[in-house]
Amino acid sequence: MSQTRDPRPQPRSLRQRKNHLPHDVVLNILTRLPVKSVLRFRCVCKPWDSSITSPNFISTHLNNTNNDDDQDQTFLIQTCIQYNTRKIPIISKVLCCDRTFDWLFEYPTPSVFDLNMSRMVGSCNGLVCLVRHGNRSTTSDSIYLWNPSIRKFKRLPDSCLSQHFSNGQDDWVSTGFACQSKTNDYKVVKLWSTPVVAEVYTLSSDSWRRAEISLKSNVVVSYIDIPDPHFVSGALHWLAYHTESEREREFLNRMMILSFDVDNEEFGEMALPDGDKLHQRSLSVFKGNLAFITYGCPEYDDDIMPDSQCFIWVMREYGVHESWNKLFSIRFENVDISFYGCTEHGELLLDKKVKEESEDGEIKIHYCNEFTILSNDTAIVLLDPKTLHEKDLIILRYVTDIVTTFKESLVLLD
């Protein structure tokens, strides 16, 4: 045998298995696979099982999903169909829809969720937070964290304040879900009334703790505008009403944004943009920035106008009031609109209902039988606010909620 100086000496075992791929290359391949394939390949051998369940692998796989712009953006759609007879049960589903709204598939939900009584309040890194409402005054809400891609879920322990509230008429609860990217941790924030108190759950410690709401200028939060808060710029944001100790003011003017910083666990406040507001208000996230959406008729107008408008304000620099910018002002003719959210590409999801005209005051009589559906059907459109181009999303029907931040992931709950 000739003695050649091999600049990269290989151990004997590697030289024999010359076509075997190094482990880091194998991981490079595995992190590019969809979740279903990765889970199946846990059965290939022990080293693969061990790698696939490691936090490092899960993060890398998630980051691959984040970068694959066109492929992996999806939406979670909650639908509900109730018939005019108890013989047919209410059908509630969670569906997953691709970015272009061309195809749908259903995620099986654990029966314990009781979807008819549940709502998805947020999603981060493939985890979904779902709240199941309790039965009036007997039980409080149950909160679940769910990863539909790996079909695992976890019920959160009851919060420390669960026992203390009676669910009377003036009481409300709002739940928010956020992730802390620095520590790869997840938090659930619950706001109760009356008076308004807050609790925070952290997944890594699997426990709740009270959180103080102490705002500057002695402002006290009196009411939260449901629906659920939005997570952006490292904080959860609610539309809230506040009272000031001395003066009486117009109710609608006392609206503000309540924020909760996930890192330092402190509450803060922000003012809404100055300018005309319409009847309906909502917060949202527009291309990564906090947005304030107001739509419907002008707030001081008592006449029912046939046209609706929609204003979209975006806070270009987080926390800076002057950076509120009215990006879009859209007019809708002869329709009622409901706002469902913004996509990551800055398109709006709206339910458009053409206003029914009654001729000569005639009342329309609808013939009902047991196959009549009582639930409100929806006509969701995808609207590009820049071009005003609309796409009818015909595969979406009877939608009660849309989660726009969902992606498949391997994130575990333990």
Binding site: D6, P7, V25, L33, S37, R42
Partner: protein, 126 residues
Amino acid sequence: MKFCTVKQYFDDENNNNVTNGIATTVIPLPNKHLKIKANNKEMEQYEQELLRNVMPQELTKLILAANYLNFKEALDFFCRTVANAIQNKSVDYVRKFFGLESDFEPGEEEKLCKEFAWSFEGVDED
């Protein structure tokens, strides 16, 4: 900078990692990349063409070559291609492809398969 190891390759006489055939495939890639870098579609088509002529087992050799030459773009591309090729395949197919054997204790593997039984649905026949 991509080719610091290429000179080494040409200097080696007994190199098991890279064969001539591979060299003709992997090395022209960067030039091609540069020429049609602006047009992603064209690159995709070129890559699909290239790989239609290559057997899955050959891909392993291509990957080793790209890895040895420290050529990240080619490595990522080949890994992406392997991922697409195996994503719907069975566990047995994947074991054969990577030359691996099951090292689970009896019963362990069944338990794991049962936990994710739904992920075995719709898998390609071997």
